[in-house]
Subunit: 254 residues, 2 copies
């Protein structure tokens, strides 16, 4: 019997120049592409390849669809933005397997990693992730706000650089304000902050601020917010926006 | 006058299939390649392109060399393993600029991100980074152990998934034991742990354990150590090693 396969493929933040050859090969070899419609729209059509577009915020349904196709023998590429392993489709697939048809555990499943939003933002900014950092999703759709607040506090007390994913959406416009209010109590006023929106796309926009003067309202669902550690600082550039640097060394006296 | 350039290029963890097209183009266009010798050895020679190989652990010297070449008009590709933005060459470059010739601030400098070790490890393991996580370097060459210990404690108290970079080297064999001792006081004994060594290379080796029974001695300088959150769990696979899953939702009652 033909064992179907699922390749969980990361497209990165947008441009083709950030899609790995592994991901490109997986997209070419697939009999079926499954993904959020705008991600599928980025990919050139290919003769004989079936497309199954789905809505946003139906990750588990989309994962089950991919697994069902694979169980019937298909070679499925399940398309994810960024890195499927980071706040994206890989977790949904293994959750679906945990809860679903036992036969799914025998499928040939692989994850093709991709460039995730904080890496794209960091590349534009200089080297803000040059030392210890953490990544936190501000979405409270699937976890209680108390957990998010606990993690923000721990990240501040540990003096990590903080990357905030899903900082705000139309349905959740206020959590980024709550997060800044919480961080402002613990971290220094002059801590550098960056809002990196749609990095790699035509409408890319980057803004620098300090924790004290930042406007959290700048963040939307396409924004990655970076908040420095006590060591993160600006390095002046000849022209234009300064670079952000979190150095490799730590100077407690700063 | 010709303004020189530096492209800080991430080669990812090893295989060519994880090098982005952006990185490949930067390597092809460069007049000069600068990097740690084993990284340069991975790249096919190109007529007319100069190579400047350097030793390990001389990041700042290597960065200054790249900037000096660019200041004389060269198009330099400064080669980094993984993602240059994550515990790698980008921070060294901006540190060198901060301390160096003011003319360097006028150079054309860009970072080409890459797949970093924790993403490669996560792809092999399933979806361990499916929710909030942090990345900590255990090297105490450039920061005091007290800072590392503070961050490990904060990461455990915040219940993050923890990715440990540079867990051990011949010169620093013991810090990974100190880290496990510290984490065992705070985190549950059954917390899943993974040792992912040389992922993507011929000698790739992955081992799963629990925090209680893990042998920290398995980690060397080519190992990425992943330690789960309270939510991280195993998902049985039809054959072989189970997958690691950190689900998108949070169940405080677990």
């Amino acid at each position: 019997m033909n064992v179907g396969s699922v390749r969980i493929v990361g497209l990165g933040p947008g441009p083709a120049s950030w899609i790995t050859p592994e991901a490109t090969a997986a997209l070419e070899l697939a009999s079926d592409l499954v993904g959020y419609a705008p991600y599928l729209d980025r990919l050139a059509p290919r003769a004989g390849q079936r497309r199954h577009a789905s809505d946003n915020r139906v990750e588990l349904t989309r994962a089950r669809h991919a697994l069902t196709l694979a169980a019937s023998g298909a070679s499925v590429a399940l398309v994810s933005g960024g890195d499927p392993g980071v706040f994206a489709m890989a977790a949904a697939v293994f959750e679906a397997i945990e809860q679903g048809d036992p036969a799914w555990r025998g499928l040939d499943i692989e994850v093709a990693p991709g460039i995730t939003a904080m890496q794209a933002a960091a590349a534009r900014l200089g080297a803000p992730l040059g030392h210890d950092f953490c990544a936190i999703s501000l979405s409270d759709n699937l976890k209680p706000w108390e957990i998010i607040a606990r993690r923000l506090k721990a990240a501040a007390e540990g003096d990590f650089v903080i990357a905030l994913y899903n900082p705000a959406s139309a349905a959740r416009p206020t959590r980024i304000h709550d997060a800044f209010a919480l961080l402002r109590v613990i971290k220094a006023a002059q801590t550098p902050v960056a809002f990196a929106r749609a990095v790699g796309r035509a409408n890319e926009r980057i803004a620098l601020a300090t924790l004290a003067n930042a406007d959290p309202g700048l963040a939307d669902m396409r924004t990655l917010v970076l908040i420095g550690s006590s060591q993160t600082r600006l390095v002046a550039r000849g022209e234009g926006r300064p670079w952000l640097l979190t150095p490799r060394s730590y100077e407690p006296a700063r």
